[in-house]
Amino acid sequence: MATNQQVKLLGFAGSPFVARAELALKLKGVQYEYIQESLTNKSDLLLKSNPVHKKVPVLLHNNQPICESLVIVEYVDETWTGHPILPSDPYHRALSRFWSRFIEDQVMPPVFKAAWNPNKQERVKGAEEAREALKILDKELKVNGKFFNGDSVGFLDIAALIIFYWVPIIQEASEFNVYSGDKYPKLGKWSQEVLNDPVVKGVLPPRDVLLSFFKARFQSIVNSK
């Protein structure tokens, strides 16, 4: 039986991956303690809880660590009742997982390359690859309702939030353009529903803070030659 005892989330403010974990916890109404980590000075707790990747988010439930943002989301879904996050039937679960994997493996790596690779040619290449992936996403993905799988925020909505909120900010900061709601009306419409959800709004870091952070990061890459 799930209890709300001792739920801690190790995170870093502004991280889209941490936001996923927070969103899952908030949708389920789980009380948790948020522990802010420093990227440059990682705590012993983080290093002990995620020795393999040494990254946030880490969910600690009764001192047991769960790592990797989407693994955490599935764990939260299975542990706490109310507001189902994954669909109930296996085929739609597989579809949700397929597209979230596509976002992780095909969309985001080229976006990060376009944003922060020290080599300009590689950045241009990254942008081209990201565009190709987003084209496929827009073409093949079918949104079944207000959100990906119906009337409530679910697994893929949580996974896709990084595209809807973070990518526009990152691309502005790093001076490239791969995604907009106008360019991809289907994704744009879906993104509006997700971004307008009150629980989602509660986990989004302020845009201007993120923009400054990413601009500073881009400048430091461009300036270090």
């Binding site: 393999v52 769960i66 790592c67 693994v71 955490i72 296996p90 679960r93 597989a94 397929f98």
Partner: protein, 221 residues
């Protein structure tokens, strides 16, 4: 309703092997169709069923496609839940299984690929990372017979296909798996005693011959 299961695979692909081991473990009657990944004329069925990646494996269940090997395993486990559970029932154990399957999928595959498709420093880097991954996995396995405990589980199915490629990594990386991680070899041999694994994994020599052919085709000396 009749359960019609078709599996599109490619014999040396670790991903395809995962899906095949899963269907075999569950004792599901299925039709296997071989898709040659190097034949650029993909079959119409593959293109229709996986328009996004145009890759195997694809599990087609009553006409509906499921793609991506780890997702296929979870799907199979959820639909045919009456025997041979591949994922544990406890959410924490399930999270651990998913974490380590993801680790195998992203870290191990990438490092291994560098060993046999690159040379020089890049290859050495791949080899170092691969061996580190093996040691981490050995630690994770511990004293258990399988990653899944007493029986094959999600991580076993995700990882054991790599065994058929070990000779490739050893020969191009110039190292010995048995010397570096004996418990992994012992575990793999234990898995091979299972019919689902023995039936699916190709012979290491066959895979090695293919790797040589691929390297020539890719222009790696």
């Amino acid at each position: 309703m009749a359960n019609e299961v078709v599996l599109l695979g490619y014999w040396p692909s670790q991903y395809g092997m995962r899906a095949r081991i899963a269907v075999e473990e569950k004792g599901i009657p299925y039709e296997y169709k071989e898709e040659d990944a190097w034949n650029y004329d993909r079959s119409p069925l593959l293109l229709e069923m996986n328009p996004v990646h145009k890759k195997t494996p694809v599990l087609i269940h009553n006409g509906k496609p499921i793609c991506e090997s780890l997702i296929v395993i979870e799907y199979i486990d959820e639909v045919w839940n009456h025997k041979s559970p591949l994922l544990p029932s406890d959410p924490y154990d399930r999270a651990q299984a998913r974490f380590w399957a993801d680790f195998v999928h992203r870290k191990v595959y990438g490092a291994a690929k560098r060993i046999w498709t690159t040379k020089g420093e890049e290859r050495e880097g791949g080899k170092k990372e691969f061996i580190e991954c093996m040691k981490l996995l050995e630690q994770q396995l511990g004293e258990k017979p399988y990653f899944g405990g007493d029986n094959l589980g999600f991580v076993d199915v995700a990882f054991v296909p790599f065994y058929s490629w070990f000779q490739v990594y050893e020969k191009f990386g110039k190292f010995n798996m048995e010397a570096e991680c004996p418990n992994i070899i012992a575990w793999a041999k234990r898995c091979l005693k299972k019919e689902s694994v023995a039936k699916t994994l190709p012979d290491q020599h066959k895979v090695y011959d293919l790797a040589i052919w691929i390297r020539k085709k890719l222009g790696v000396e």
